[in-house]
């Protein structure tokens, strides 16, 4: 929710810390309001589903676990923490103007799977992100990073994806 000028998780925001006489609470931005502070998250979850938010594991699937060294595990150490709260989406000015924009959290999720040593779908993932409503729509405003309650950095993830695409020389849009 938008609380005194900033997107925050209402459940953990301490009133005293706001240090204010008046507290103004508003619903998450860019999404239709259903009632009071409740918004319709359909668009947010459609974007999430669009980017194939699941591991497409390498073959062959091992008998026990995939071997993933601690240094490889640490590459996904941050991005797996996303709780899909939507704060970044609400704070992103681009998500407000482009209805088709995938938005910071969906693209962060893309990066989460791109960096997972067990994933085998780099090409497919880059194809989805490589779109005018995908990574190229991001103008690096960094509002997402500013508001993320889990201290994640979707903007950085987006720029990493851009670099991957450019390296392959297949920019679209």
């Amino acid at each position: 929710m938008h609380i005194n000028g900033k997107y925050r998780l209402a459940c953990e925001t301490q009133i005293l810390e706001l240090n204010a006489e008046t507290i103004i609470i508003q619903p998450l931005g860019h999404l239709p309001v259903l009632r009071d502070l409740i918004v319709d998250l359909t668009r947010f979850f459609e974007n999430y589903r669009h980017i194939k938010p699941y591991l497409i594991g390498k073959s062959p699937i091992p008998e026990k676990e995939y071997i993933q060294l601690p240094e490889d595990r640490s590459k996904i150490g941050n991005t797996i923490d996303c709780i899909l709260c939507g704060s970044c989406f609400g704070a992103c000015p681009v998500a407000g103007t482009d209805n088709a924009y995938l938005g910071p959290s969906a693209l962060l999720k893309t990066e989460r799977f791109l960096t997972d040593s067990r994933d085998a779908a780099e090409e497919e993932r880059l194809k989805i992100a490589n779109d005018i409503h995908g990574v190229w729509r991001c103008h690096s405003v960094f509002s997402c990073q500013e508001v993320c309650p889990k201290e994640l950095n979707p903007a950085e993830a987006i720029s990493k994806i851009k670099k991957r695409i450019l390296k392959k020389g297949s920019k679209k849009g």
Binding site: E12, Q14, L16, E17, L34, R35, D36, I38, D40, L41, F45, R49, K52, P53, Y54, L55, I56, G57, I61, P62, E63, K64, E65, Y66, I67, Q68, L69, P70, D72, R73, I76, G77, I80, D81, I83, L84, F113, D116, R118, D119
Partner: protein, 613 residues
């Protein structure tokens, strides 16, 4: 009217795992959850999930039988031993499966799933994803269901829908009724199979680590429709939760060496016979009881709470091993845990009891299944081991899905039930309209609070006959006052006054079953501690409490515990070889004992991996 082959109530780990199974078998399924599935309480689990993988050097000789033994012992011998063995045997399969699906487990130096020691286990057996294991598992399952559903669309999600009624006729499931919270409209779902995966009932207590959504309503729906509840009196209490909000402060803090202190900074656990040796790392229930004793003695800080002191561990260790604790102390108590002690108190934590199901998650109603914390198989008995409940959700979630699928393939689909569904809907609609019309001056929020405070005071960590009976009387009064709840806001969208009233009515049913079970269990076992009967009594109470709904209150009966693997009285381990010939042939316990152990199979390269893509 919606038409589905199966309906799952609940989108936590158990519900999602069941959904995966049904969708995989191309069964048209609805998953109904009052919150978005990824906001389910499974999210909150921190510590980890148990499986005898043997990934840690020290844990190499670990195997599923040892896991089963620890679990049986932890259950204080009232867990069903066949079910426990089944769970522990399936555990490695389910963990590898969810790892293959992308679960980001923490790793050993060799890149294997890391495991840590947990209370009550003989080995480092608890697999974990830092201190966010539940979050990692829940997201992984949700993700893979998205994948499965992308093409075949067998699953339909009803997010922010609240199930209010289960329709049963001739002892079999016919449908359910659910309230779309967004519109306030009731909708009937015609279905032959329903799986209840609605989680624990923690919020019937005012002090609980559970989310506000864990009210027990899901259990109440099944209970009122004729399913039984089992062992409801067994409620686990956690010693260290943040004072006020009761957010869990992981056992890991004490494991790392934090002290528990009273108002004069004394490690008071040394003054109690049962904790003076192990001190802070004594079992959960002992520490929790001694904390309450200390508070009652008047030795609490500000007369309210005790201190959990991490300071001596030093900044480096705290930030590395307990970052979650620092974060929650800062955010929710405004405290810097590196330089200040954390105010803590015990609180309700886990529901061992639940809907009475057999080893295949079946209730006594055809087509009705339950899994996860909502169910009582029972694998936790009188006390749950940390790390076993996440395991239960994925093992029995899968089994419930399988069992429902099998049932559906056997029955003849009887589609003609329009009349039944319509009359049930009419009745439910009328009930809700009547609630809307009420003008009474009681508030559902206020009554919920009163009920949960009464539960904490009367049916808490210490119990005795007088208090329990007083609790029952209190509850009856609150139940009557429910008739006087007025709904001031008449709008239909997200009407939380109405919603909480519906929750409250369910919670009261459940609270009553907890109290009745506790009154009649005149012994102390696991989490159930009776000051008037402080000893375990195997002769009279080595049995499950069964509560059956009646409008006058819960009717109690008892069921035997499935034994046959570990002998309660002497608590030693009998090897399978000795035991197998002694078991009644054809019994589930005998079948399990006779089957080869997966820990041997695991060495075998021909081990079938389930659910390859």
């Amino acid at each position: 009217m919606y038409n589905f082959d199966a309906v799952i109530i609940g989108g936590g780990l158990a519900g999602l795992r069941a959904a995966y199974e049904l969708v995989n078998n191309k069964i048209k399924t609805a998953l109904i959850s009052k919150v978005y599935p990824i906001r389910s309480h499974s999210n909150a689990a921190q510590g980890g999930v148990n499986a005898a993988l043997g990934n840690i050097e020290k844990g190499l000789p670990d195997n599923w039988e040892k896991h089963a033994y620890d679990t049986i012992k932890g259950s204080d011998y009232i867990g069903d031993q066949d079910a426990i063995m089944k769970m522990c045997k399936e555990a490695p399969y389910r963990i590898y499966e969810i790892e293959h699906w992308g679960c980001p487990f923490s790793r050993t130096d060799e890149g294997r799933i890391a495991q840590r020691p947990f209370g009550g286990s003989g080995f480092p057996r608890t697999a974990y994803a830092t201190d966010r294991t539940g979050h990692a598992m829940l997201h992984t399952l949700y993700e893979q269901i998205m994948r499965k559903n992308e093409k075949n669309k067998y699953l339909t999600f009803f997010d922010e829908w609240f199930v209010t009624k289960l329709i049963v006729k001739d002892k079999s499931v016919k449908g359910i009724i659910a309230l779309d919270l967004k519109t306030g409209d009731l909708h009937p779902f015609r279905t032959d199979a329903a799986i209840v995966a609605t989680g624990g009932v923690g919020r019937i207590y005012s002090k609980s680590t559970n989310a506000l959504i864990n009210t027990g309503k899901g259990l109440a729906i099944a209970y009122r429709a004729g399913a039984d509840l089992k062992d409801m009196e067994f409620i686990q209490f956690h010693p260290t939760t943040l004072y006020g909000t009761n957010i869990l402060v992981t056992e890991g803090a004490r494991g790392e060496g934090a002290y528990l202190l009273n108002n004069i900074g004394e490690r008071f656990l040394k003054n109690y016979e049962d904790s003076k040796r192990a001190m802070e790392i004594a079992p959960r229930d002992i520490v929790a009881r001694n904390m309450i004793r200390e508070i009652k003695k008047g030795n609490a800080v500000n007369n309210l709470y005790l201190h959990l002191d991490l300071r001596r561990l030093g900044e480096k260790l705290i930030s590395k091993r307990l970052p979650g604790v620092i974060e929650l102390a800062r955010k929710f108590a405004g405290i810097n845990a590196i330089t200040e002690p954390i105010p803590v108190e015990p609180a309700q934590h886990y529901t061992m009891g639940g809907i009475d199901v057999d080893i295949n998650c079946r209730t006594k109603i055809d087509g009705l299944y339950a899994a996860g914390e909502a169910a009582c198989v029972s694998v936790h008995g009188a006390n749950r081991l940390g790390g076993n409940s996440l395991l239960e959700t994925i093992v029995f979630g899968c089994i419930a899905g399988e069992a429902a699928g099998e049932y559906l393939s056997k029955i003849k689909k009887k589609n003609e039930r329009m009349y039944l569904m319509e009359s049930a809907l009419r009745e439910e609609k009328k009930g809700i309209e009547d609630l809307y019309k009420r003008e009474g001056n009681e508030s559902s929020f206020k009554l919920f609070e009163e009920m949960s405070i009464a539960m904490w005071n009367n049916i808490g960590i210490f119990r005795n006959e007088v208090q329990l009976k007083e609790g029952l009387e209190n509850l009856k009064r609150i139940k009557e006052r429910c008739n006087n709840v007025g709904i001031r806001y008449k709008g239909k969208r997200f009407n939380f006054e109405l919603y909480w009233l519906l929750e409250l009515i369910g919670s009261i049913d459940i609270a009553e079953a907890v109290i009745m079970g506790a009154i009649e269990r005149k012994e102390s076992r696991g989490s159930h501690y009776r000051t008037d009967y402080p000893k375990r009594d195997d002769e009279n109470y080595l049995k499950h409490t069964i509560a059956t709904y009646s409008p006058e209150g819960a009717k109690l009966s008892y069921k035997p515990v499935t034994l046959g693997y570990v002998v309660p009285a002497e608590s030693y381990f009998i090897s399978r070889r000795i035991l197998t010939p002694l078991l009644p042939s054809g019994s589930p316990a005998a079948a399990l004992c006779a089957a080869p152990a997966p820990c041997i199979l695991m060495e075998n390269t021909a081990l079938p991996v389930r659910h390859r893509f």
